[in-house]
């Protein structure tokens, strides 16, 4: 079975610092792959190459086995890659519908943005994802962290993402909202999406992911199936940068 995403020998440097150094990773449909590592290990950078925010210096990306050219966030969207950023890439001054459709507004016959239709679509998808969501007319700055997160997730779900990148999706959330996100990840997985998940919470990753990949200093330490490793193994990979299984 061809992997959904293959990233091969990816490298990128910022002014002499090798942020990602010859890293390869793949992702299959219906699979959740967790990326772990210290701050500055290169996880977010690697993922931003896939989402089009950065341009790699060398390497190759294949989507469904075919070579992909991703030079901008728009390119990434054309490959059905959606990203939920750590910083919640929302425009605070706009309402939920405007954010959900940002960059892909629905327009009417005259080419004007169709706010009413976008609001109706937002109501529909929110009723599915987060039934408590009622503040459709207000700027998203008035929303709680969880509500903002559900806008970001709704954006990915609405546009039929095949590949979903979640950069610390639960970092700003409370217990209840974290559980909601976990449930959603299971749901999306069942629908056959491939998900890259970045987090610092090792335990959470063990629960949510099928495989975990650990990075340190821009290099890939190892990618293992979660049932093959213990939490301690992962911690030692993160801290020491060595794969205990490979050494054994």
């Amino acid at each position: 079975m061809t992997p959904l995403v293959e990233m091969k020998n990816i490298s990128i440097a910022f002014g002499g610092v090798q942020a990602v150094d010859n890293v390869s990773i793949d992702l299959h449909p219906g699979e959740v792959v967790g990326l772990l590592g210290h701050n500055g290990a290169g996880k977010s950078t690697l993922i931003k190459i896939l989402s089009g925010a950065y341009k790699m210096d060398s390497g190759e990306i294949r989507i469904n086995g075919e070579k992909a050219h991703i030079a901008s966030p728009r390119d990434a969207r054309n490959y059905n890659i959606e990203t939920i950023y750590q910083t919640l890439a929302l425009a605070d001054n706009l309402d939920a519908a405007s954010n959900l459709f940002l960059g892909r507004e629905l327009t009417n016959g005259l080419g004007f943005v169709d706010d009413d239709r976008m609001e109706a679509e937002t109501r529909k998808i929110m009723a599915r994802l987060n039934p408590n969501f009622k503040k459709l007319k207000e700027p998203v700055s008035a929303l709680s962290g969880g509500q903002r997160q559900s806008v970001a997730i709704a954006r990915a779900v609405y546009f039929n993402a095949k590949i979903l990148i979640m950069d610390e999706p639960t970092a700003a959330l409370g217990v209840h909202e974290t559980a909601m996100v976990a449930e959603l990840i299971h749901e999306l997985k069942k629908q056959g999406l491939g998900i890259f998940l970045i987090s610092h919470d090792t335990r959470e990753m063990m629960e949510l992911c099928d495989r975990v990949a650990v990075m340190k200093n821009g290099q890939m330490v190892g990618a293992e199936r979660v049932e093959d490793v213990t939490e301690d193994d992962i911690l030692s990979m993160i801290i020491l940068g060595k794969n205990p299984k490979a050494a054994a």
Binding site: A91, N93, L94, N99, E105, V113
Partner: protein, 431 residues
């Protein structure tokens, strides 16, 4: 019900009269401030401030700054600034004046040829657009702060205009061109009323069409009486405005100069009114177009998204660099249009045209509620801001306030207006 029951509606909880109408309370605040300024000056001038004549003059004096202020809203919303608008206005005005007075007559166009004003206006708009696009390219693609680019432009463009004209005052301008200046181009009573009635019909249609669309989507709508109240207020405001402008009569000596122009055979007994100035109609059209751009187009949506969170906009696939070029280009085009109004109002081009306009334009946008931190601002707010500034200035001039004191008051009002705005936003819990 007993007679001492107050007017507070008892129906759904916690919805005041204004909330039910869904009107912007900030807009009401600004209108309130404007009415207060007008009333105070009216008392101080023994009723001379609110005469049809003065209201007419006030509106035509506001047009040039107000046109530029609508563009400045977009610039400030995206967290930039444009300090060069007064200078760009002067450069465009110089080119337009030279085109109609020197260039075209020199290549064989007779003075008064019908094409002269339109070629001149076209040339000015192209120049304004090019200057704006160049500024936008420096800001968006080269990463030079807009403050620096336009501070440079502030010095450059006025003097480019000076070079074109060798420092001379260029005039008299073309007769048709001067129609855009105000008093020389008004629509008279009948046409003004036709436009007023069309505007009323359009507003009423827009209010009820919006309601119909909302109902079709199953959204909650405000009660019918609220829609009718709003439609009634809008109708009253438009009709009142037209009524004031059409009650400003053309003085008999002006009619006597050219009775045919006012539809009379002879000057005796001929009465005519000025009505809606073409320049004000131009401002209203620009305000409507700019509002549609802000609210109903992707371009406008991206402007506000970029102002709210530039990173989010970029990550959503918006080309924020090109957006910057477009915004500054639009600003340049609006400067050129403002230059038409400003120079034709004075009947000639002089080098100091639009001096300090950059500050008036920025002040108008800011008084109108545009936040320098980006993401927030409205077109109607900027126009009201321009109107408030102009009212203060001409009101103080009418009262006879000393010149230095006039500037002190205007400066203080700018700061106080922003202070009130910040306090208001804190209270409302938004940023």
């Amino acid at each position: 019900m007993s007679a001492d029951v107050t007017t507070t509606p008892t129906s759904p909880p916690k919805r005041s009269f204004l909330q039910t109408l869904e009107v912007d309370t900030r807009l009401l605040g600004m209108i309130g401030a404007f009415i207060l300024v007008a009333l105070v000056f009216n008392i101080l001038t023994d009723g001379r401030f609110l005469t049809p004549r003065n209201i007419f003059n006030l509106t035509i004096q506001t047009v040039s700054v107000a046109i530029m202020a609508t563009g400045m809203v977009f610039v400030i919303v995206t967290r930039h600034i444009d300090l060069s608008v007064g200078a760009v206005l002067a450069a465009c005005s110089a080119l337009m004046a030279m085109t109609q007075v020197r260039f075209l007559p020199n290549i064989g166009f007779d003075i008064g040829h019908w094409a002269i004003p339109w070629i001149a206006i076209g040339a000015g708009i192209i120049l304004g657009g090019l200057i704006g696009a160049f500024n936008g390219w420096l800001v968006g693609y080269q990463g030079i702060p807009a403050f620096i680019v336009t501070l440079g432009g502030f010095l450059v463009w006025r003097n480019v205009g000076w070079y074109q004209t060798s420092g001379q005052t260029i005039g008299p301008l073309d007769q048709t061109f001067m129609m855009f200046g105000g008093i020389n181009g008004t629509l008279g009573g009948t046409v003004s009323w036709i436009i007023g009635i069309l505007a009323i019909l359009f507003v009423v249609f827009a209010i009820f069409n919006a309601r119909r669309v909302k109902t079709a989507h199953g959204f909650p709508v405000k009660p019918m009486w609220a829609e009718i109240t709003l439609a009634g207020i809008a109708t009253g405001a438009i009709a009142g405005f037209i009524a004031i402008l059409t009650s400003y009569e053309v003085p008999a000596r002006v009619v006597a100069r050219d009775p045919a122009k006012y539809g009379c055979e002879v000057a005796e007994g001929c009465q005519a009114v000025y009505g809606l100035p073409i320049s004000v109609l131009l401002l209203i059209a620009i305000a409507a177009i700019m509002t549609v751009i802000a609210r109903k187009t992707r371009f406008g949506r991206y402007i506000f998204a970029t102002g709210g969170n530039p990173d989010a906009a970029e990550l959503s696939g918006i080309n924020t660099r090109m957006l910057t070029v477009k915004i500054f280009m639009l600003m340049g085009v609006l400067c050129a249009i403002a230059a038409v109004v400003a120079s034709s109002r004075l009947a000639n081009h002089s080098n100091d045209l639009g001096t300090l306009d950059e500050l008036r334009v920025i002040a108008a946008a800011v008084i109108g509620g545009t936040a320098l931190s980006g993401g927030i601002g409205t077109i109607y707010g900027a126009i009201l801001g321009a109107l408030i500034m102009q009212s203060l200035q001409s009101g103080m001039a009418m009262v006879g306030v000393d010149a230095p004191l006039q500037n002190i008051v205007v400066g203080a009002v700018l700061v106080v207006a922003v202070f009130i705005d910040i306090q208001y936003r804190k209270r409302m819990g938004s940023k």
